[in-house]
């Protein structure tokens, strides 16, 4: 498989975006926990959200690095995950040229590029563990399945240590479903399009 846009780096900025109530802050916390505690990286996770309990834009930013991190907020990102159309419209321009773009095609119908990993994450969450609420964790599985930023094992460990006990099993199923479908999605792409999806990993 060709890797024209391989992007090995010492740090990465990941933006998780969507609508308030979709669990973006938990998603960020799980990713940070997996990378920092189970993956040995330094991490700064910050949030940006509105005053509403549900609705409105919500975003979680995770900066990962092997070294010290002084960029608490980055204007651009290496990975962008969008769980809503509004988030996709608003944040697409923050994605760097070589970045990895993942959208939840259950909610995002108009995507400004073909260089995208599109999977119906909300629908997959409903199918895998009976609740659409787990779309966030499906998203982490997808991220894991199409990059080498964080391992599935680390995400599973973070899920066990962070999520409430009664939700652990459901979330692990969501994680596995996202991971498997991302692998299948990449396999299914014709080579010309596959080569436009970057391989992101840490050296």
């Amino acid at each position: 498989m060709s890797k024209p846009t391989e992007n090995r780096a010492n740090n990465a900025t990941i933006i998780l975006s969507g609508t308030g109530g979709q669990g973006l802050q938990l998603m960020g916390r799980l990713l940070a926990e997996a990378a920092a505690i189970h993956g040995g990286l330094n991490v700064v996770q910050s949030r940006s959200y509105g005053p509403e309990a549900r609705g409105g834009a919500s975003r979680s930013q995770v900066v990962l690095s092997r070294g010290e991190i002084d960029d608490l907020r980055n204007p651009s990102c290496n990975v962008l995950i969008c769980l809503s159309q509004q988030a996709c419209d608003r944040y697409y321009t923050t994605l760097r040229d070589s970045g990895l773009f993942i959208v939840d095609s259950t909610n995002v119908k108009v995507v400004p590029t073909t260089r995208v990993v599109e999977l119906p994450m909300t629908q997959m969450a409903a199918d895998a563990c009976g609740t659409r609420m787990a779309a966030n964790v499906v998203g982490l599985g997808v991220l894991c399945g199409c990059s080498n930023i964080v391992s599935l094992k680390a995400l599973e460990a973070a899920t066990r240590s962070t999520v409430k006990a009664k939700f652990v099993d459901g979330n692990l199923k969501a994680l596995a479903a996202g991971y498997a479908s991302a692998k299948a999605f990449l396999e299914s792409l014709p080579p010309a399009r596959r080569s436009t999806i970057p391989d992101l990993s840490f050296v």
Partner: protein, 383 residues
């Protein structure tokens, strides 16, 4: 929920670290009214206090919150509260009271966009002047600004120490970014960081004077219910605590307050210097923005611009000496702040050659000031 003694590296937010710092400093009383973006402090204190013999009360508003904190501190408990802009405004009356009555207490202000209800979920540094001058009259206080999650822990302990040592209110000026961000931290083992307790009276109860004049300017402090009798008021008072209007006595009281800062300025100065040894330009900043300044210094150095950064960890009292030394050394100072330039005015006051070389980078739209913003401005001004 883990306890303050956990030593493994773990992920936590600034607000969590502030609460664990308060507990490690010995705080056992919290009264507050929840407000974004400080609410997690109340949540964590409420969850942890029952297990460690602490008392948590949710009050009807922020005025009552600080009132309860002052009352609890007068019984001998280390006490604190947490709030944000609108609540901090309501607390001003009692901050002055705590200073006047010389009651140790710690106020955590996680700054958000203002004025008024403003931008509840967004960052700002708009309360820098209010933290020093928000209450009426001339009063002593110490204000600390953490820039990392670990510092939320260590500076909160420092705030309690200074508040206890000098019998005055201490304020932590955090902001939405620092309070809500998660970083991997390894808390220092218990006992490694110094914990200071207030000076206690050694005289028999009959001889005790709550505001006794001492060579150090700090009066030993008994707690209510310990057998000592004393009077506490917001009125100008003599050493017994009862009101007085005698000019010599009110003058002595105000001198005592003034001297708390002047005589103890070494204790009340904390400034971090970053690559300043050979610096020709300086980025002067504090709190979350100072992290961008560090990054900007590294970028500028890569481009052969001799930059350094100076960061007050204690904003008030203002670190006059360190800033004067910096002004003597460099030819250009950039002061990035998420306000209209509140601390820049303090720096300008110390510059005797006009304001031309002291520039502000001021952002008021709740967006963070990044390293790239700082680098762009420095290159624009200097090259």
């Amino acid at each position: 929920m883990t306890t303050a003694t956990t030593m493994e590296p773990r992920l936590m937010t600034g607000n969590e670290a502030v609460t664990l710092g308060a507990i490690a400093a010995g705080a056992r009383f919290y009264a507050g009214y929840p407000i974004t973006p400080s609410t997690e402090v109340a949540e964590i204190a409420a969850a942890m206090f029952p297990d460690i013999g602490g008392v948590f009360i949710q009050m009807e508003d922020e005025i009552a919150s600080l009132g309860a904190v002052i009352g609890a501190s007068l019984t001998g408990l280390k006490s604190f509260t947490a709030t944000s802009g609108p609540g901090f405004s309501l607390m001003q009356e009692h901050i002055g009271f705590a200073a006047m009555a010389e009651v140790p207490c710690v106020i955590i202000n996680v700054m958000r966009g203002g004025p008024s209800t403003g931008l509840p979920t967004h960052m700002s540094q708009g309360d820098v002047m209010q933290a020093k001058y928000g209450s009426h009259g001339d009063y002593p206080t110490v204000v600390l600004a953490p820039a990392s999650v670990l510092e939320c822990y260590t500076l909160t302990i420092k705030a309690f120490n200074l508040s206890e040592k000098f019998r005055m209110p201490a304020i932590i000026l955090s902001d939405e970014l620092v309070g809500h961000m998660c970083e991997k931290v390894q808390l220092p083992p218990e006992g490694e960081l110094e914990v200071v307790n207030r000076l206690r009276p050694t005289v028999p109860a009959d001889w005790y004077r709550h505001y006794e004049s001492t060579p150090t300017g700090i009066s030993p402090m008994a707690g209510f219910g310990e057998g000592y009798r004393f009077h506490v008021t917001g009125l100008a008072h003599d050493s017994s605590g009862f009101p007085t209007e005698v000019p010599s006595e009110t003058h002595a009281l105000m001198e005592k307050f003034k001297n708390k800062e002047i005589r103890n300025i070494r204790d009340l100065t904390m400034v971090e210097s970053y690559m300043m040894e050979d610096a020709e330009i300086c980025i002067f900043s504090y709190g979350s923005v100072s992290r961008s300044a560090r990054r900007a210094v590294r970028i500028l150095r890569d481009r052969n611009i001799k930059a350094g950064a100076l960061r007050p960890q204690i904003l008030w009292p203002f670190p006059k000496q360190a800033v004067e030394t910096m002004l003597d050394q460099v030819s250009y100072v950039l002061i990035p702040e998420m306000n209209v330039g509140q601390l820049r005015k303090e720096v300008e006051r110390l510059s005797h050659d006009g304001r031309g070389r002291i520039k502000g980078l001021n952002v008021l739209n709740s967006e963070f000031i990044t390293a790239a913003d700082i680098v762009e401005r420095v290159e624009h001004d200097v090259l």
